[in-house]
Symmetry: C2
DNA sequence: GTTTGCGATTAACCTCGATCATGACGATTC
DNA sequence: GAATCGTCATGATCGAGGTTAATCGCAAAC
């Protein structure tokens, strides 16, 4: 139940039934959290990690002036701060964007898993590196795209991720975010995000209103944001079989 | 020898002698590579990873116009594409910036390590998540800092990283990069990097000439780049003891 | 029915950094 | 010595996006 969406449709690393059961058993508690609550702060030492079941969470860094730069947003099925397991100490804050349901996994359980289940360990490792791959795409977004491209890229990415979580039909999805949130994600001001949103609407690419996104022209939107979903490592039956997908010796 | 600098001075995760020997034994070959060579391309399926022994390497994403956004630079001691072990397929290119010496570790060896040495596995996992933490700092740099701050932040980060590799005395270091390289890292044009470098020199913060950096006022430079080295997880004897550093049950 | 407050919207102005262009300098190579 | 190339340097111009501020719409609260 809780882990149903974790690593869903990820080629070669989706969980086996036994692995899923083991992970499920590792959950100590579940709870609901209000929107805009801080779950963990930079510098904290953690002995547990958070699996997001419902809602949207984020990770962010503060600058000197109190402004934030979001470095990740997390959707249902994401193991939000699994990386706190090897790192132990956080380098950023973690919080909810919308009301959320979370499951807590104590690091002692992860110790047991890494001792006993190397294959599952590699899959957990994979999950954290998927986050790193998304970080890289975000770096590209901030470093090489203009404002319109950044927002377009973000909407494309989120659409694909939500779709693989079963929360988007590929055309429209409910993103619980404000224009100000998108600004913190894309390194822009809210005022300019507003201009960009209007532009995307007037050009017939997509509509963002009341936290809901409707994609009008997916191909054009992806082109405008130079979006290629390869970095999300999602299992797409249409894509060619990997040349090197033989089982390990 | 080859792995001497790997995870050096990282609190709680530096390698034990036995672990280092095991990793050393996992190296299949070493080789030297010229500057500006591509080691691996996006989309490739890999069955080995690269440990950087000498020189500087980078990872980058290409945009449609052939421009690059660097997403990481790697210094001696870095396990450059260890993340390719769980991911198997790369989402970006990997290449040398300067002439380099590299050691190759087959993934089959890493399979064996993950089966037999869970503690070492967690340390390797840690190394990849350290890269992710650096990605996040880079996101902050691109999203929240102006041009001068970005370059200042980059010099501060690289100084600390090189110092922990024993390649900087904390005041000056040899970075084999050009102003154009710094531009690809900081999401700027070479022309503007040139102006920023002049500004930093005229303000007495640091001098960047012929690929060498000399830091004149470390405190001011760090302040200008809002640099705080916590995210590098380097063992600093002066810092307070972690509250939660008890051995695992 | 009024107040409160958040989020979206729009306008006016201005700055930072991109773009375009040109040239200097040093290190190859012929 | 001349030619070529990579890197550094600097000026002029321009536009994308920041800043500031005012307004509007709408839902919840009283």
């Amino acid at each position: 139940m809780l882990t149903d969406r974790f690593l869903r449709d990820r080629r070669g690393v989706s969980l086996e039934a036994g692995e899923r059961a083991r992970l499920e058993a590792a959950v100590s508690t579940t709870s609901t959290v209000e929107a805009r609550r801080i779950i963990a702060r930079a510098g904290e030492w953690l002995d547990q990690s958070t699996l997001l079941v419902e809602g949207i969470m984020s990770r962010y860094l503060d600058d000197r002036n109190g402004l934030r730069q979001l470095v990740a947003i997390h959707l249902p099925g994401d193991f939000v701060d699994l990386h706190a397991y090897p790192l132990k100490r956080l380098d950023h804050d973690v919080g909810t964007m919308t009301p959320a349901t979370i499951a807590i996994v104590p690091h002692a359980e992860l110790d047991a898993i890494t001792e006993e289940m190397p294959e599952l360990t590699r899959k957990l490792w994979f999950a954290t590196l998927l986050d790193a791959a998304i970080h890289r795409a975000w770096l590209f977004r901030l470093g090489r795209l203009d404002a319109i491209g950044r927002v377009a890229h973000f909407f494309c990415e989120t659409n694909v991720r939500l779709q693989s979580a079963g929360l988007s039909d590929g055309r429209r999805f409910n993103l619980g975010l404000t224009q100000a949130d998108v600004a913190e994600i894309c390194g822009l001001t809210t005022v300019h995000v507003n201009r960009v949103v209007r532009h995307l609407r007037e050009e017939g690419l997509c509509i963002f209103r009341n936290g809901k996104v409707e994609i009008l022209d997916a191909a054009k939107l992806a082109r405008r944001g130079q979006f290629d979903p390869a970095y999300l490592y999602i299992d797409d039956p249409a894509s060619p079989t990997p040349p090197d997908q033989r089982p390990r010796r």
